[in-house]
């Protein structure tokens, strides 16, 4: 029986989940017969099954709910919010009971009269909305005696059968009567119904036993016949194994003598009705429908039903454990396959080569198929949301629509489980904090109904899930106040931040504190937890909001976790797996010369194509002490990208890429943030899988001078989009200055007493040419003592900025407050490590070093001899302020648009541009959207467009091209942008000439 109970529990829990969302749908589509039928059916089945399993509480609650649903189905009740609330309340009670049943193996003691009485009132049409709040059980006298005689001896089925038998006996006695059979059938039901009401105390006025008997008397039954009926009924009860005492108790209610010939209301007067299939009205056999009755299904719905029927017969229910085992076995197979392939590589010519290749292929296909079985529609994680939103709306007095799309988008069930809670939290947040009360919305000129949108779609090996609402959005001033109040930032720090940056505080630990707790959202989960959970599965979350218009979360998650491609690296003789998805490229460096590796304030950085990457040695991170033997001849830099944060990891050796099976790390090792899992290599050895996110956090952490900054660094690495690596230095006065690391070509240290003088300028021999040296004031550098020199390059030219001291490399805010003109050499100020710091303008120094040639050379170098008009679309003020002077310097006339919508407006206003440079990641319309929109317009379909992004993977590039961009460059490489502009423009001219 235990087994049966378990199966019942599993099956019922599944059915109940479906019911939740269906009920909410019903409220919106009250006239949908299929929906109603489906809901009724589930409740009905629960009721029916519980009777068998001896679960009277469940049965009674389900029964009462079913009655309400039945009345709705029969058109006697209309679907109201109250009705749905009541049925949902019943559903909750059923769930509670089921939960206790699952633990204890039996129903708990207790009463469900509160729920049942309300449902009964509703079914009887006595419902007044106010009663929902009122404490229940006002008429305890009316309670059913569920565990009484009636149920104990067998309930409806027993009485039905006994009445059937008794009536059958009567029929053989009166067989000459042609109407007798139908009449007796009705008698059978009337009698069974009468016993039900008499013995359970329910007060259905039309069906008391005395009334039935009176009806029979009215039809001309003799007292003998009545006695015979009573006797046969008693006999039937006995054959159905009812104990003698109980038979006597039942018969005592069958008082033949009470019958009065004049009695009224023959129950048998009910007209027999034609087929009235309980779920969905049968169009062919249905009786003429009463006015309120729901209409027969639309043909389309029937087709859909047929289709789903076909689909259903093609599916098979498989236990999750079986699937998990299958997956494990496939993982083993993949490992063995890898092992065999590795052996094969070692032996060269082998007769096993061909069959192994086949095995290899089949294994991959099998792996793919098994992964497929783990895929589940994301809608499974959404099933509870309609109910949640509905209840939220009721509780808060808001009108909220939940619109879901892409529910059939499939992803691995493990990932599905991981995002279920974060999604629920975000939707709840939207309903609670986002959507305004109807009156507020009306005042704001919005429709009373707020909308929460939930969508999912595939995008390049990932799933993109969006949660957005058209509510009030985030009030930046409130976030600002709370961030300060909770000690997450100082007032000065926040003053230097953009609106969007301030909004990101919602993801910071310690933000969602007591002040925000409401009965709805304040359940101890903050957005920091949401973010952590999503990042745990290799996903990313971004947030954007416009006050008054709404908020949007965009979540990017991988399709599967189980098997990934990984680069195997070695460090001090130990191997590790690095997920391939984060690896950008590999660089081999001779460990003696360490060419390209430079030290900045003790922190190594690597110059990769004129871009400086922070470097971190894996051996340092993992604290693997140096082995005694010789250091390797060469080292490798694994260039890694996490978000827009690029850094290099130093390892000793690099091996092949392998498909690895990700296994969770032991519970005892889970605190180590640098590992995301464990795997077994082809040769059978166990290795740890490195977690790029964890390493990124640790790297930016180690690049900071103070331990206090560690938390900030973690937060910074999470907010890669908003920060950039800055070199902080001192020159001239005591104030620290900064320059984006990406703009520094090299860092040198030289004794300036050896510098030469060339005319007005100070120069030094550098890499085979003369490099002008300037001081922070732009004047030729003084030739005194040792100084660090920041080397800037532009085209073929170089310039060395002599500074007093390099302080550090830190993550700096992208928000740059523009001050003065470019003349001053200061681009603006930014908050860096909590202090307002001047960000210098490298172009200024390059020009100072040789003003005469710079403009000319640059223009020639980039082919911009006549003023070209550039529209720069960029939401980050930092990049705007960084790029605009550069573009101007290179001879372009620059117009700025702060977002794609503004760009569209400018374009449509009639302005002409020779080229459009647009950021990709922007709130609202993205750069892709902008390109697609413009490409669809006659005037802009051929204008060159260059995409600007902090990500520049081949996929991004391809996507950019498909959206209509001519080129795609990374933001942090301004020179690449200039080169691209000149190339695109010349191609464009060439094309025009050819066309002409």
């Amino acid at each position: 029986m235990d087994d049966l109970l378990n199966e019942f529990l599993a099956e019922t829990v599944e059915a109940l989940e479906l019911l939740d969302s269906e009920l909410v749908e019903l409220e919106q589509r009250p006239a949908d017969p299929a929906l109603l039928g489906s809901i009724f059916r589930i409740m009905h089945t629960i009721k029916g099954t519980c009777g068998f399993l001896g679960l009277p509480r469940l049965e009674a609650v389900a029964h009462a709910a079913e009655d309400v649903l039945g009345k709705v189905r029969d058109g006697e009740l209309t679907v109201s919010a109250d009705a749905v609330s009541l049925v949902l309340a019943a559903l909750d009670r059923i769930k509670e009971l089921i939960a206790e049943l699952a633990v204890a193996g039996q129903e708990p003691e207790g009463s469900d009269d509160d729920v049942i009485m309300s449902l009964r009132d509703m079914a009887a049409g006595k419902w007044a909305a106010a009663e929902l709040v009122a404490e229940a059980v006002e008429e305890p006298a009316d309670l059913p005696s569920v565990d009484g005689l009636y149920q104990r001896i067998g309930g409806a089925s027993l009485f039905d059968t006994a009445c059937e038998q008794a009536c059958a006996e009567m029929l053989s006695a009166v067989s000459d009567h042609p109407e007798a059979e139908t009449e007796l059938l009705h008698l059978q039901f009337a009698l069974a119904g009468a016993f039900a009401s008499a013995l359970t105390g329910s007060s259905d006025a039309t069906a008391d036993i005395d009334g039935v008997i009176a009806g029979l008397v009215a039809k001309g039954w003799s007292p003998q016949e009545l006695h015979m009926l009573r006797d046969e009924f008693g006999k039937a009860l006995a054959t159905l194994e009812v104990a003698d005492a109980d038979v006597a108790a039942v018969l005592s209610r069958f008082n033949v003598a009470a019958a009065k010939p004049a009695a009224i209301a023959a129950p048998a007067a009910q007209e027999p009705v034609m087929a009235d299939e309980p779920i969905v009205a049968e169009p062919a056999a249905a009786k003429p429908a009463p006015a309120k009755r729901v209409k027969a299904e639309e043909p389309a719905a029937e087709n859909a039903q047929a289709a789903s029927a076909a689909a259903q017969s093609q599916t098979l229910r498989v236990n999750i454990t079986v699937l998990e085992n299958l997956m494990n076995m496939v993982s083993e197979l993949v490992l063995t396959r890898n092992q065999l392939l590795q052996i094969l590589r070692g032996v060269g010519d082998s007769p096993f080569a061909a069959p192994l290749q086949r095995l290899n292929q089949v294994t991959s296909e099998l792996q793919e198929s098994v992964m497929q079985t783990r895929m589940q529609p994301i809608g499974n994680a959404w099933s509870k949301l309609p109910r949640l939103v509905r209840d939220l709306g009721q509780e808060l007095g808001k009108k909220i629509d939940l619109v879901m799309s892409g529910a059939d988008t499939e992803l691995d069930r493990q990932i599905l489980e991981s995002i279920r809670d974060p999604l629920t939290h975000m939707v709840r947040n939207s309903g609670d904090h986002g959507i305004e009360a109807p009156e507020d919305r009306r005042e704001a000129g919005k429709p009373e109904h707020g909308t929460i949108r939930l969508s999912a779609r595939h995008e390049g090996g990932h799933i993109i899930v969006e949660v957005s609402d058209d509510g009030r959005g985030l009030s930046t001033s409130r976030i600002r106040a709370k961030a300060i109040q909770n000690g997450l930032a100082t007032e000065a720090q926040i003053d230097g931040m953009s609106e969007q940056q301030i909004q990101q505080f919602i993801f910071r630990p310690g933000f969602s504190t007591a002040a925000q707790v409401t009965s709805v959202s304040g359940r101890g989960v903050g957005m920091d937890v949401v973010r952590t959970n999503i990042e745990k599965i290799g996903g990313a979350i971004e947030f954007s909001s416009t006050e008054g218009q709404g908020s949007r979360f965009v979540i990017k998650i991988p399709l599967t976790l189980a098997i990934v491609s990984a680069l195997i690296v070695e460090c001090r003789g130990e191997r590790f797996a690095m997920p391939q998805s984060s690896v950008v490229e590999l660089v081999r460096i001779s460990s003696k010369s360490q060419q390209g590796v430079e030290l900045i304030n003790g922190h190594p950085v690597y110059r990769l194509r004129d871009r400086l990457l922070p470097l971190v040695a894996l051996s340092d991170l993992l604290k693997i002490e140096e082995a005694g033997d010789e250091p390797p001849q060469e080292i490798y830099v694994v260039v890694t990208q996490v978000g827009s944060f690029a850094f290099g990891i130093i390892v000793d050796r690099v091996f092949d890429t392998e498909e690895i099976v990700v296994k969770p790390t032991s519970r005892t090792l889970r605190q180590i943030s640098l590992f995301s899992g464990t795997t077994i290599l082809g040769d059978g050895r166990v290795i740890m899988i490195l977690d790029p996110n964890g390493i990124a956090a640790a790297t930016s952490g180690s690049a900071q001078s103070e331990a206090r900054a560690r938390d900030e660094a973690l937060a910074a690495s999470r907010q890669q989009r908003e920060t950039v690596s800055m070199l902080v230095f001192r020159a001239g006065d005591d104030n620290t200055k900064a320059v984006p690391l990406s703009l520094i070509a090299r860092l040198e240290e030289a004794d300036l007493s050896n510098a030469e003088r060339a005319g007005e300028r100070t120069v030094m021999q550098y890499r085979g040419s003369l490099m002008p040296l300037v001081g922070i004031d732009g004047a030729p550098a003084r030739r005194d003592g040792k100084h660090p020199i920041l080397v800037f390059t532009e085209g073929e030219r170089m310039c060395g900025l002599v500074v007093d001291e390099v302080v550090d490399i830190v993550e700096g805010s992208l928000d740059l407050q523009l001050v003065g003109g470019a003349q001053s050499g200061i681009l603006g100020s930014s908050i860096i490590a909590g202090r307002s710091t001047d960000v210098i303008d490298t172009v200024h120094y390059l020009r100072q070093s040789d003003a005469a040639w710079f403009d000319l050379e640059t223009r020639e170098a980039y082919g911009a001899e006549s003023e070209r008009r550039v529209l720069l679309v960029e939401d980050s003020s930092f990049f705007r302020n960084l790029l605009m002077p550069m573009l101007k310097m290179a001879g372009y006339r620059v117009t700025i648009a702060e977002h794609a919508e503004a760009a569209l407006e400018i374009c449509r206003d009639g302005d002409e541009f020779d080229i459009i440079v647009s950021d990709i990641e922007m709130p609202g319309l993205s750069g892709f959207d902008l390109a697609r929109t413009l490409r669809a317009e006659e005037r802009w379909k051929d204008v060159p467009m260059v995409a600007l992004s902090s990500h520049a993977s081949p996929q991004d590039f391809e996507r950019g091209r498909r959206s209509g961009f001519n080129d795609y460059v990374t933001k942090l490489d301004p020179r690449a942008l200039l080169t691209s502009l000149s190339r695109v423009l010349s191609t464009d001219e060439h094309r025009e000439e050819t066309a002409a």
């Binding site: 489906s38 009905h44 039901f189 159905l240 034609m274 087929a275 017969s313």
Partner: protein, 127 residues
């Protein structure tokens, strides 16, 4: 006499119910019991095997017990198969409808072995 070895098909889309009815039939002494999880599957199974009795739930999706009953009665080869409908509703109009569609009897859920036996007797005779 009822042949206790005759094949019986029980149809329900709730696995728990299938198990319950299966157990009850076994308790009454029947030995050859097949299960189907919906009307269309049942129909396919009936075409492959001669069942001495079909016990079907009324409320199923996508093909209901009522539709199954009508299909069975419309099929030249299957139409004589005894058919018992299981329902949780004791509404006279449903029974009348089922009767008209040719059901041999019906059982109201939940039921005991004794009730099942009594119902089987009305369809199959004494056993």
């Amino acid at each position: 006499m009822v042949d206790m070895k005759m094949p019986i098909l029980i149809v329900d889309d709730y696995r728990t119910m299938l198990r319950i009815v299966h157990n009850l039939l076994a308790k009454l002494g029947f030995t050859d019991i097949d299960e189907a999880s919906d009307g269309s599957q049942a129909l396919a199974m009936m075409k492959g095997r001669d069942y001495g009795l079909v016990i079907s739930d009324w409320n199923m999706q996508p093909m209901t017990g009522f539709e199954l009953l009508k299909s069975v009665r419309a099929d030249q080869h299957l139409k004589a198969t005894p058919f018992i409908m299981v329902t949780a509703e004791s509404k006279v109009e449903n029974v009348v409808a089922a009767r008209q569609a040719g059901v041999n009897n019906y059982i109201i859920k939940p039921f005991s072995a004794a009730v099942l036996k009594a119902k089987l007797k009305t369809v199959l005779g004494e056993f």
